[in-house]
Assembly symmetry: none
Homo-oligomer: 219 residues x 4
Amino acid sequence: MKRDRANSRAGPSSPKERLRERRRRELIDACMDSIARYGLGGTTVARVAESAGLSVGIINFYFESKSALLLATLQHLVDSYERAWRGAISRAGDDPARQLEALVDVAFDASLCNVRTVSVWNAFWGETRAREEYLRVCGDRDAAFRAESQRLIAELAAREAHAHVDPEAAMLAFVHLIEWLPDWMLGGDSAAFDLDWARSVCRRFLASLFPGEFSETTR
Amino acid sequence: MKRDRANSRAGPSSPKERLRERRRRELIDACMDSIARYGLGGTTVARVAESAGLSVGIINFYFESKSALLLATLQHLVDSYERAWRGAISRAGDDPARQLEALVDVAFDASLCNVRTVSVWNAFWGETRAREEYLRVCGDRDAAFRAESQRLIAELAAREAHAHVDPEAAMLAFVHLIEWLPDWMLGGDSAAFDLDWARSVCRRFLASLFPGEFSETTR
Amino acid sequence: MKRDRANSRAGPSSPKERLRERRRRELIDACMDSIARYGLGGTTVARVAESAGLSVGIINFYFESKSALLLATLQHLVDSYERAWRGAISRAGDDPARQLEALVDVAFDASLCNVRTVSVWNAFWGETRAREEYLRVCGDRDAAFRAESQRLIAELAAREAHAHVDPEAAMLAFVHLIEWLPDWMLGGDSAAFDLDWARSVCRRFLASLFPGEFSETTR
Amino acid sequence: MKRDRANSRAGPSSPKERLRERRRRELIDACMDSIARYGLGGTTVARVAESAGLSVGIINFYFESKSALLLATLQHLVDSYERAWRGAISRAGDDPARQLEALVDVAFDASLCNVRTVSVWNAFWGETRAREEYLRVCGDRDAAFRAESQRLIAELAAREAHAHVDPEAAMLAFVHLIEWLPDWMLGGDSAAFDLDWARSVCRRFLASLFPGEFSETTR
DNA sequence: CATGAATGAGTCTTCATTCAT
DNA sequence: AATGAATGAAGACTCATTCAT
């Protein structure tokens, strides 16, 4: 008599499952709100529940525990980002320069690069050392992203004009720039940071390494 | 007739004051141990005390509160690093290339760049968004370090051969590389990270931007 | 279409609010038990909780802090007493002698004058000097009570036969007698104190000041 | 070889004993300071030591424990007062009216009736219910004082003109007035209380009970 | 489903007491 | 004799989790 769930890959379909997914998503959102405002250490079940407009009991109903919710939140973050940059690359054509530009555009897209998201990301990263689960989730994301960046930069560096560029070093500089420049948003005056400026910095960085490959027009 | 205390510049000299400073330092060390092992959220006064081999009461005897200890720990970290890079620059001569190399050497000096220190640094950074005091302490450090890096890189970029290098973008890439490359140490297999390799990466990065200015010899 | 809540003046009516009020009242009662048995200094949240048959966490669920509970307890005491004597006066008719007798009757009513209540009252009074909040709460009670007593005694003293009675002095003697005679209950042998005897003492005192105004019958 | 201590009634005589007595007295004074300022609950060994200008260790050197110091302080208070009123009575001649006046004068003598002393007395009294030792010390004081007051008042009441005065009731009113009127000093505005006024109140009270026995001249 | 009252383990902090100097 | 650093038990408070409704 049990309902068939053969099509589970396509997402939950029974009303029950749909509600379950929706609630989990709401709680993850609320969790991000709380982390962004109060930090990881200041995030309590009560605050998450309040932000979600639900009661405290709900967390343990939809997640095994508070830390399961935290982990799911981190996973959600990682997934969103990975989906975004993979999509961007696949849409950017074959030129590695254009593909790198696409990575930059994704990294500083307002939907991914905003105070809330960056705050949460930062908070999790600070605890990676102490919580192995976090590290595992983050580590995978980075590995793939770096491999891809390395590939693109190596292709550019293979061109004769850029023979002096060390692909590994260039990749690491690029990756760290993209990943940590957003932290400027967390400073006291958020006005100091601007997405257009950030993209421009990255392009100018790439142009400094690979003259002639990147147009200097700011977007 | 009063005893001369001309050498007071060298720190507190009364035995009492000396003990006080020593204990505070021991507790800061123990605090770093705890943060490195258990994270900021997992650091309790009990763990700090245990790590220091003292009783729990001691923390509130030498620090106003647990958070005062944490702040002192962060301040200690920041001071150590600032002292180190300022000293290194002043010893490096006048050539901006040599001075940049000195910054790299300091950043990956074993006494400053090790799993413990980097873990602690990372943990604090993760909470900066939620704790304004942390941000203030960290922010000052960064501002000075970046200003100095900017100056050195601008000097190099002013040379005719490097006219295509954007100083701002290059500086940002450089400081982010130096500041965040150490995070690789926190990965599961710390064997993947090697101080010599890290220094090499940074030099190769600089050489990629400014060909001819940096010898690639050291590896 | 909204449900009418016209009778809200009569106190909280939603079940939730009712539970809240009931629990707060239970905790205040338990707090009085603890103070009576262990003193103010010996009253801990653990003891209060135990006396209430609840867990320690409950205190901070229903009161902002332990001291908020203590203050609420004192306030409860003060309110009860004020309500009682005001009611007694209003029911006692117009004769000041009868009204003073009513004040006496209230002061030594078993529901207000018993070992538990007097103990608690005494404990709070001992700390009024150090805790300004306590003083404020107690001070108001006294001011009103004394003003009323002064008025009644002054009326009696105005009668020709009692011209020699100093109203201020008589009032002060009267209120101190009423307020502190109950402390006899706290002595080792509580048998030494008897409510009937106490009332009799007060009446005899009034009769000594104002002969002929008070019948000595009741004993 | 032990020194003879036969004259111990006259006080300690060896230098050692004299120092011991002096220190104990200093600590009791400091203890009163602390209680007056911070209350009984806010009185810590550290505060007492600071007030005495000595170190914390000293308390346990001169007293068995903190509570032994507290008890000694209470005892000191009680002894001072008892010595004072017994002396006053013995110097007041044979007339009960004069002797009662002497009791009043002692009760409101500036050296016994001042904010500090009254505060301390009040604080102890508040804890009598919970600490049997306190009650015992206080109880003895009261018993003797009341017996004496009763005797004097009974003598007056025996005179024909005052036949309507109930000795017991009058005594109780008198005693409570004398003992608790000083509490007015603890109110917010200490200006409201004045020793001359207080003495006047007591005399006027006695004159109201026993017309013709007390001169109304305010001292 | 959802609530939120209730629990109690865990944390920080205070403070009387000890003891080496 | 006196100090005050160190201890650790005890207290108030927080908060993840449970469960009756």
